[in-house]
Amino acid sequence: MTILTDLQHDTLTEIINIGMGSAAAALSTMVKDEVSISVPDISFSSIDAIKDNLNELDTSNLASVRQGFDGELSGDAILLFSGDKSLEIVRMLLANTLGINDNDFSDFEQEALSEIGNIILNAGLSAIANTLRFDVNSSLPIYKQGDIDRLVTSDDKSQTVLILRVDLNLENKQIKGYVVYLMDILAIDQLIEHIDRYINSIPN
C-alpha cells in the first residue's frame, strides 16, 4: 500500500483538517449549534481490503453520500456513516422527533443527509484542490444506504482507496465516520507529487 513519509502524512492531514474546519463552520451556521469535525487519521487501502480498515463502523449497515470528481485529479469521494446514527442525526438536526417509518429514510431526510455530505466532501476536495493547486470539478451528491460492498464500488478494482477517519461532533453527540477517496494509482502519485511540491514551497 502507498506509504507516505511522516511529513507527507502530516501535510495531507493538516490540509484536510483545515478544509473540514470550514465545513464545520458551515454546518454550524445551518444547524445553529456547535459543530466540530476532525480528521485524526488517514490511511491507504485497496477496495477489496476496505472492510478491514473501517473499524469504527458496522459495515453491513452504512449510510453514504458519494460525489465524483474530475479534472486534474479524478475519482470518487464517499462519506460513510453508521446507518442508524445518521437517521438520528438528521432527525435531530431537522428538529423532527417523529419519523413516519422508523427504519426508512424518507426522500426528505435523504436529501438533507445528501446536503450535509455534500458540504463535508466539498470541503475536503476544495482544501486539497486549493492548497495543492489542482483544478478539479465535483459532481452532485448521491445518497445510498446498505452494505459496504454496495457502497464502495468501482469498475476498476485496482483503484487505491485513501481513507480518512472523521469525527463529527454535533450538539454534544459524537458521530464517527469515514471519507473514502477512490482514485487510480496515477492520481495518487500526482497527489503525492503535489504534496511534495507544497512542502518544498515553504521557505526554510
Binding site: 502530516d10 466540530s36 492548497t131 515553504i202 521557505p203
Partner: protein, 117 residues
C-alpha cells in the same frame, strides 16, 4: 523592533514549519521554539516565558483553549493567539473571554503579520 521569542504549538509539523518560516522571513533574529502538543508546551514554559504564543486549537490531549489558560497562569505577559480551522462563534467567544486573540487557518503572511504586531 527588538528581538522577541515566539512559541509555536501545533501537532502538525507542516503547520509549525509554515508559521516559523513566515516569521523567520520577516525577523531573522527572533527566537522560535516549537511544541507538538499542549503537554510539550507546558514543559517548555517551565524554562521559557515567550513574548508571543501562537497555538493551534485542535490538538490531541489538552486543546488550545485549555493550554491558553495555563499559559496565562504561568506566563501572564505572553500575547496569545489561537489559530484554528474551525472558526465558530462559540470558540471565538471563549477565546475573547480569556483575553486571547483569534485567527483562522489556513495561515497566510498577512495573518501572521497582524498577529505579531
Amino acid at each position: 523592533m527588538s528581538t522577541k521569542s515566539v512559541l509555536i504549538v501545533d501537532d502538525s509539523r507542516v503547520s509549525r514549519m509554515m508559521v516559523s518560516a513566515i516569521i523567520n522571513n520577516m525577523y531573522t533574529d527572533w527566537t522560535i521554539t516549537e511544541a507538538a502538543s499542549g503537554d510539550e508546551a507546558i514543559t517548555v514554559l517551565s524554562e521559557l516565558k515567550p513574548d508571543i504564543a501562537i497555538i493551534d486549537f485542535n490538538m490531541p490531549g489538552i486543546d488550545g483553549l485549555q493550554l491558553a489558560e495555563k499559559i496565562k497562569q504561568q506566563s501572564p505577559n505572553t500575547a496569545i493567539t489561537l489559530l484554528t480551522a474551525n472558526v465558530q462563534d462559540s470558540i471565538q467567544a471563549k477565546a475573547a473571554t480569556l483575553g486571547v486573540s483569534f485567527a483562522g487557518k489556513p495561515i497566510t503572511e498577512e495573518k501572521i503579520v497582524s498577529i505579531i504586531s
